[in-house]
């Protein structure tokens, strides 16, 4: 009889899914670097594993991070994931109670109502009946929201939702069908055998009043088994692979695996497959304002996975980090992009003959202005004034000639070339014997902090350094009654987590007006060196929109702490824009 084998599609799907997923996990692990493998081995038997279990529950089932961004979207994911999880767990317990044993054919727990149609009275029977039905309603509410979101994403407060591929449509259709079909299976069965709670029995009776339900039962249960099977088979090839992959990622990340080596390895895949394509990153992206709609992180991850990533998409990104901040899965998109850029970019055979180490000078502190500061000389002058004022024994390393810090090359994927500059600069800095390296450009700051090996040298952003001077009483700042907004540069804020020092410093010189979008949520000026595809006109749109937003706070001036942000905003020509070095240097001057 066919009905005895109706669960085979489900069984095949499940086995297939497990084989593929486990196979992938093994492949990803094998492809990790040696150090990362050691990290996994050490991490496996540490508290980090427990921590990962908790995080998996919190993010994989409850979707806490999505809740933080969008309540409706969070509920949708939670009801589907957590609801389904509970259906499996509670269903299993129910079946164990029915059998009075932990061991039973496992299809019994999945298709419980199909098998148990006779009146029974195992312990907790009524409770399980109610619980399972309420859980099914819970999941169905999520499915309804999913239907709704697909057609009316604006209801979710989302301006855009992700575009889908063909395979995704199969997976999505199967997923959308699973729970409504299960609902029909159980209510129809209840209509015939009254094996549910009064709720489902009632609904079943209502269906029965329309016609005979008996001939429908077997086809319905078979359909249920088929949609489950189809979903499981489709899962590894669709975005739903994110369900197991995210759990895997949580563990690997907690064990300390990262993309730090800046070379593509299988950890990239572990991250790529963890993307659920929820679309939160799309709305976080400012490029939308300039009409750029195909290079957001979700599309890059998708393209990497489908092996059709183009430079047009990969390089059309400011690497501002706004999407990374918003990503509920915590995928390290910026590093991932840089790694991809290094991988796809031709390493040009340029000449670096000019990198002969110049004269070094013994000093307590090395000041490295960087290219962007040389293009904004009023910042440079302010920095020199402050250094002179503090009576510092400093060496202005790139006053006449010095290589670039290397970060722009790094962002462009020119890793080897960047390394040449890094080596030259490192040698010069170490030879100076200085204990501190002062930079006022966040782009330089990030690369000096993260990619240079400078033992015994503290890298300071000028916001940290000048604040120290003020705190030590080496610099008297004369307060003014100007009102200013502070713009967090991407590389300093989201990139290096320096938010408080600039604010504390500026508060000594003027009044800072808080803004709705600042710190982690700060806008990008649009000038970022990381984007090599954006047009000047598109950059202007981003800068203009940001300045419009600043203007709503009616400040006397906009203060930032990045020469590139300053230059980009100054072009808009609506509000005066200054670097915090200029603000402080101006306030110091007044008193003298």
């Amino acid at each position: 009889m066919f009905s005895d084998y109706f669960y085979y599609p489900f069984l095949i799907g499940t086995i297939f899914l497990f084989v593929v997923v486990i196979g992938r996990f093994v492949k990803w692990f094998m492809g990790l670097s040696k150090i990362d493998k050691i990290r996994v081995r050490i991490g496996l038997f540490s508290m980090k594993t427990l921590q990962s279990v908790w995080e998996s529950v919190r993010e994989g089932l409850l979707h806490h991070n999505i809740f933080k961004t969008n309540k409706m979207l969070g509920y949708m994911h939670m009801s589907l994931a957590f609801g389904w999880f509970l259906l499996i767990v509670v269903g299993h317990i129910e079946t164990s109670c029915y059998h009075g044993s932990m061991f039973f054919p496992f299809q019994h727990s999945i298709f419980f109502r199909y098998y148990v149609t006779e009146p029974t009275d195992f312990p907790g029977h009524a409770f399980f009946n109610y619980a399972m039905e309420i859980l099914l309603f819970f999941v169905l509410s999520g499915v309804m929201l999913a239907y709704f979101k697909r057609f009316r994403s604006k209801t979710f407060g989302m301006k855009r939702t992700t575009r889908m591929r063909y395979g995704d449509r199969i997976g999505l259709t199967a997923l959308w069908l699973i729970f409504p079909v299960r609902f029909l299976c159980e209510t129809f069965t209840a209509g015939v055998y009254h094996n549910g709670s009064p709720i489902f029995n009632g609904i079943g009776d209502a269906f029965a009043s329309v016609g005979d339900l008996n001939p429908w039962l077997n086809p319905l249960w078979l359909t249920y088994s088929v949609v489950l099977g189809v979903f499981f088979v489709a899962m590894p090839f669709t975005r739903y692979m994110h369900i197991p992959a995210e759990i895997n990622l949580i563990f690997l990340r907690n064990w300390g695996v990262t993309l730090k080596e800046r070379r593509v390895n299988t950890f990239t895949l572990a991250e790529v497959y963890s993307c659920s394509r929820c679309g939160i990153c799309i709305d976080a992206c400012q490029l939308n304002l300039a009409g750029i709609k195909n290079s957001q992180s979700v599309y890059v991850l998708k393209n990497i996975r489908n092996k059709n990533l183009t430079d047009e998409v990969l390089f059309n990104c400011l690497l501002c980090g706004k999407c990374q901040e918003a990503c509920p899965v915590g995928i390290d998109v910026n590093k991932l992009r840089i790694t991809q850029r290094i991988e796809t970019t031709k390493q040009y055979n340029s000449s670096y003959d000019y990198l002969k180490t110049g004269k070094t000078r013994q000093a307590d502190i090395v000041y490295f202005a960087g290219c962007m500061t040389h293009l904004t000389p009023s910042i440079k002058q302010s920095m020199l004034k402050i250094l002179d004022h503090a009576g510092e024994n400093y060496w202005f390393m790139d006053e006449n000639k010095a290589p670039c810090c290397g970060r722009p090359l790094m962002l462009a994927g020119q890793y080897d070339a960047a390394q040449k500059l890094i080596d030259t600069n490192t040698k010069m800095i170490l030879e100076s014997g200085a204990k501190r390296l002062l930079v006022n450009c966040p782009i330089c700051y990030k690369v000096f902090k993260e990619d240079y090996q400078l033992p015994g040298v503290e890298v300071l952003h000028h916001s940290e350094y000048i604040l120290d001077l003020v705190k030590q009483g080496r610099l008297d700042v004369n307060p003014s009654d100007l009102r200013a907004v502070y713009h967090d540069p991407c590389e300093l804020g989201r990139g290096s987590h320096i938010y408080e020092q600039p604010r504390e410093l500026l508060n000594t010189a003027l009044t800072l007006v808080p803004m709705a979008r600042e710190r982690e949520k700060a806008l990008c000026c649009g000038g970022s060196l990381a984007n090599t595809k954006i047009s000047m006109a598109e950059r202007d749109v981003l800068a203009g929109k940001a300045m419009e937003e600043f203007a709503t706070y009616a400040p006397d001036l906009v203060v930032t702490s990045c020469p590139l942000c300053k230059k980009t905003f100054a072009k808009v020509d609506s509000l005066p824009v200054k670097d915090l070095a200029e603000v402080v240097a101006g306030a110091v001057e007044r008193k003298v």
């Binding site: 000389p377 230059k567 072009k571």
Partner: protein
Amino acid sequence: MKNIVIIGGGIAGVETACALAEGGNHVTIIERDDKLGGKLNQWYCLFPDFKKSTQVLDYIKNRIKNFDIELKLKSTVEKVEPNGDGYFIHTGNVRYAADAVVLAVGYDLFDATRKEELGYKIYDNVFTQADIEAKFRSGDLNTTFGKAPERIAIVHCVGSRDEKCHNMYCSKVCCVTGVKQAIEIAKFLPKTEIFCFYMDLRMYDKHFEELYRSAQEHHNIQFIRGRVSEVSATPDQRLSIKTEDTLSGRPMKMKLDMIILLAGMEAKKNTRQVARLFDVETEESGFLRSQDFHLGAGILSRKGIFAAGACISPMSIKETIENARSTAMQVNQYLKTL
């Protein structure tokens, strides 16, 4: 007799006014400043023949005396109302009826502080061509430290043909202005070395090319093809520039005593406002949009509103005067149809 109101009393405004008054119209000029002549008042002499700018100003002043033109100085337009086929123009407490209006609001020199890397108003001895004209008029070409400059750089295309400043167009008169100023300086300070840094030199009008040739042949002025990327100060109170000699393909640095930035011509900051007031269209660059590039440079998108001079596009004094006369003719043709 028809009434015509001209907005702006620079060269374009006055020449249009005179040409229209000559045809028997009643003309009013509304000028924001307290005198006529506009930007030309700041200039010392003109290319390509080194005619003193005062000679052009005198011509304007003498010409206007021949007509009964009403001057409303130190005034700006506050409101524009339609009035039958014409308009009412409100300024201060006065209301002028106008059968036609000519906008001759002129241009602004590009604010060189917007290219911070060139150090204008940050370092001493970085000037614009307008500052140098003022220096010519005062007869003092010394640096701020009171010394005669030994070496001067003239930087072309500052704020013109520069996507980074939103200005894609060529201001066209700066090339020859640079050559003219270089020769003037060379005549005044024969020992000074003068370098012009250019992208390409657009010697488009009569005698310009000859002037450029003469600068090289007779005045030893050196032309280097390359954009200046940054200016900095040296410890010995001089200036240093970084650039690339793109003909030899080599990056170069140079120490200097003075830098002259040839700032481009931009639409005035308030041209868009004026355009809104009169409900006429502007280009993306901010200049007023002509109805037809070839056939009607002075005709704007609204009936009875015309334009003359550098509010349409960058132009030289010669072209401004020609353009003013041409616009006056178009206004006359229009008035006949009323």
